[in-house]
Symmetry: C2
Subunit: 188 residues, 2 copies
C-alpha cells in the first residue's frame, strides 16, 4: 500500500517511513509546507493541514503535527515548537529553564489521515524531562535536550529504531499502521 506524507522535515519522514514499512506501507513524501492553524491542539492543526493538503493533491495522505509541552513554562512552546526552535534555538529554551527545578515535559504528536472519504486521527504522547545541556547528534528538533521517562539517554542519542519504540511519533504511527492494515484486510 502507498501513502503520502506532507512534510519538509526529513527527520519526521525517516521515522514515519521506517515505522510504516513494518505494516507493509510504502511512504512517499510531498515536500510542501503545511497550512497550519494557530491552536493549542496538535490534533486540530494536523487535521486542518491534512484537509488543505488533500484538497490540493487528491491522494491519500497524512500530516504529522507535534509539540513539546514544558510543564514549568505552561506548555510552551507547544504547537509552535518548530517556530520557536528556528527563532531562539535550544539555547533560548534552556535559558528559560535556567535555575528551574521542574524539568518535566511531554511531546505530543497527532497524525491526521485524509483520503477524500475517510478522516482519522492518531495520537501519541511521551513524557520525560529536559536536560541541562544538549547531548547527541541523531534525531532532530528538541531531541538533544529531551530524555524520555525510564531512559537516561536523550532522543538524539538513540537510533531511529530506538527512538520510535519510545516516542510520541512512534506511538501515533503504530496506531495509524494497525488501522490501515486492518482496513486493507477487511477490504479484501
Amino acid at each position: 500500500m502507498k501513502l503520502h506524507m506532507v512534510t519538509r522535515n526529513q527527520g519526521k519522514f525517516r521515522e514515519a517511513s521506517l515505522e510504516l514499512s513494518k505494516f507493509g506501507i510504502e511512504l512517499l513524501q510531498i515536500p510542501d509546507d503545511k497550512v497550519e492553524l494557530q491552536s493549542d491542539d496538535v490534533s486540530e492543526i494536523a487535521l486542518f493541514a491534512a484537509r488543505q493538503a488533500y484538497a490540493r493533491h487528491r491522494v491519500p495522505l497524512v500530516v504529522d503535527d507535534t509539540g513539546l509541552y514544558i510543564e514549568s513554562l505552561n506548555g510552551f512552546p507547544g504547537p509552535y515548537s518548530s517556530y520557536v526552535l528556528r527563532k531562539i534555538g535550544l539555547q533560548g529554551v534552556l535559558r528559560l529553564l535556567d535555575g528551574v527545578t521542574n524539568r518535566r515535559a511531554c511531546f505530543r504528536t497527532a497524525v491526521a489521515y485524509v483520503d477524500g472519504t475517510e478522516e482519522s486521527l492518531f495520537t501519541g504522547e511521551t513524557c520525560g524531562f529536559i536536560v541541562e545541556a544538549p547531548r547527541g547528534s541523531l534525531g532532530f528538533g528538541y531531541d538533544p535536550i529531551f530524555v524520555p521517562e525510564g531512559s537516561n539517554r536523550t532522543f538524539a542519542e538513540m537510533s531511529v529504531e530506538e527512538k520510535n519504540a519510545l516516542s510520541h511519533r512512534g506511538r501515533a504511527l503504530r496506531a495509524l499502521g494497525s488501522w490501515l492494515a486492518s482496513r486493507s484486510q477487511s477490504n479484501r
Copy 2:
C-alpha cells in the same frame, strides 16, 4: 457608518474604536476567537481570519493581527506574540534578552477588511526598543516593555490617544479610516 471588529482583546477594540470614530465610523465588537494561520506574515494571518469570520457573520468586518519582532531573537515572538506572552510572560521575554545589547524591536499590525465584495489590507509598523524592566500600567500585551523611537516612555505609560499617534495599530487604522471615508464619499 458601522463596522464590526472580530476580537476578544478589549485593548485592541478600545484603540480601534477611538481612532475610527474620527472618521465617523462606529465600531461594534464581535467577541469571537479568530481562526488563525501559522505564518510569519501578519497580513496573511489577518486576511485568512477575516475571510473565515465573514463566512460566519456576513457583515462588513475587520480583523487585526499584530506581532512584536525582536531583532536579536530573529523576529521572535512575531505573529505568536500573544501566545508567547500567555505562556512565558514579559519576564520570559526579558530573560531571553538578558545581557543582550541589541534591544531593537518592531511592532507590525495588519488590519484586514472583508465585506463579501471587497477585501483590503492596511498595515502599520513602529520600531523602537525593549526596556530592561516593565514600566507603566496602561495599554496591554508588550506595551510595558516597548519604547517607540523618539520617545522615552513605554506604550504602557501613554494614553490611548498618545499611543495611537505613534503606534503600528494607529497607523494601520488611519489608513483603513481614510480608505473607508473616501469610499463612502465616492459612493454618494
